[in-house]
Symmetry: D2
Subunit: 137 residues, 4 copies
């Protein structure tokens, strides 16, 4: 049973109260999320730190999967591969746009393009795999 | 000119004031770092969130490289691949133990084994690539 | 100076005389290639072996890059990440469809979706990075 | 029930009759294999082609896993990540030295260092994941 964008956002706000990631879209085997950027997200060179981009990719995948299978909290990342392509802007949110490539019963794989909000240049690209726990009938 | 563990720790404290990662060792083409774990680092299932493990791997690589080339702040991650292998403990620091596989003039590659402090089981394993900016003679 | 599909096919036939990969399309920051499948490409389970899929992805990236920068033979793979998603058919060619995500002066990154010819299900997905050698003005 | 080096070599000779990979060692959660290099394995620049290195890594992982779980032919690669670090020699076999990082009931993960035989410099480094099919009691 799929979950709506609002249900996923409420779940994330409850389970990850300190998150700086907002859910913008979910459904159609995809998702868009946005990570706030402040001083804590920057690194030398006046750019966004790598782990912030990784976290955005990871959440985008999670939201895309929950949008298809519903709120299954113990769905966990099993692998993530990320390539950093361009220096992100220091003053814009990071958007993560996920498309699921495979949605199996126990495994989901998706790719995520990351952008500085307001630009169409990809700043990083990730592919991740999630394990979906067994669910009752 | 290599940097000492103390120099790297001081640099990180200054440039990443909110980091929760401590530098335990640096040198010999490797590094060990530790990430504090508190409520903000946990996720459903009472375990450490994936992005915390990714961040620890990323810092371990950065420290290992700075330990060889000195404080070159604009050394940046170009790719990271991580496999999550076991559920980390919720109450122990995450240790990241990096060994550099290649240290070229413009590129460094290293692998990182991640542990829950006090256990010898690998909880995740990462391989990352950093680009080293051109430096003057 | 971009190379045409025909120029790339001729180059590959000359430099890789034993290749079983045909160039179907090149240009627009992308490429499509096809790998013949015979007994040598199969593995237990009556399916295509992993290395055949990897090789197809690698060539698709190479063709897409040469289609943009021209015949620069020493352009070499620096990393490749592949996820195997479904069992390919034993009797169909493997198609590799590449789209470049980044085309810089010294580095190109692309993603490749792999299919059994005649099916729209992705059997594997790869992301690869190539280093482009310095070229004269 | 583990398989010996000889059992694995016989299985590979039977199931992959055209392979150019020899099994040198298996056991202790690891394996060493060697890939013959001839004209078909080279590429422009007089070096070993990327897919040959990928294939060597893939077989090294397979042998290491079979060495632990026995001859389970349908054990298949689910992901592989490889970084190419140095130009291999054109005239030496490629050695793949695998160490398993995790050996679970349904999933195994290992890393592979690749060398030109006779040199201690790593030419490429891979991390791969295999799915192990369910087995009877």
């Amino acid at each position: 049973m799929p979950a709506t964008k609002e249900e996923i956002a409420a779940f994330i706000a409850r389970e990850f109260p300190q998150t700086k990631v907002a859910v913008l879209e979910a459904g159609d085997r995809g998702a868009t999320v946005a990570h706030e950027i402040g001083a804590a997200e920057l690194r030398p060179g006046n750019t966004v730190s790598g782990p912030v981009l990784m976290a955005t990719a990871d959440v985008a995948l999670y939201v895309a999967i929950l949008g298809e299978i519903g709120i299954v909290p113990l769905t966990v990342t099993t692998s993530l591969n990320i390539n950093f392509l361009r220096k992100p802007a220091a003053s814009a949110r990071i958007l993560g746009v996920c498309k699921l490539i495979k949605l199996g019963r126990t495994l989901a794989v998706g790719e995520v393009s990351l952008y500085s909000e307001g630009s169409s240049d990809i700043v990083a690209h990730a592919v991740g795999t999630y394990a979906i726990p067994a669910r009752g009938a």
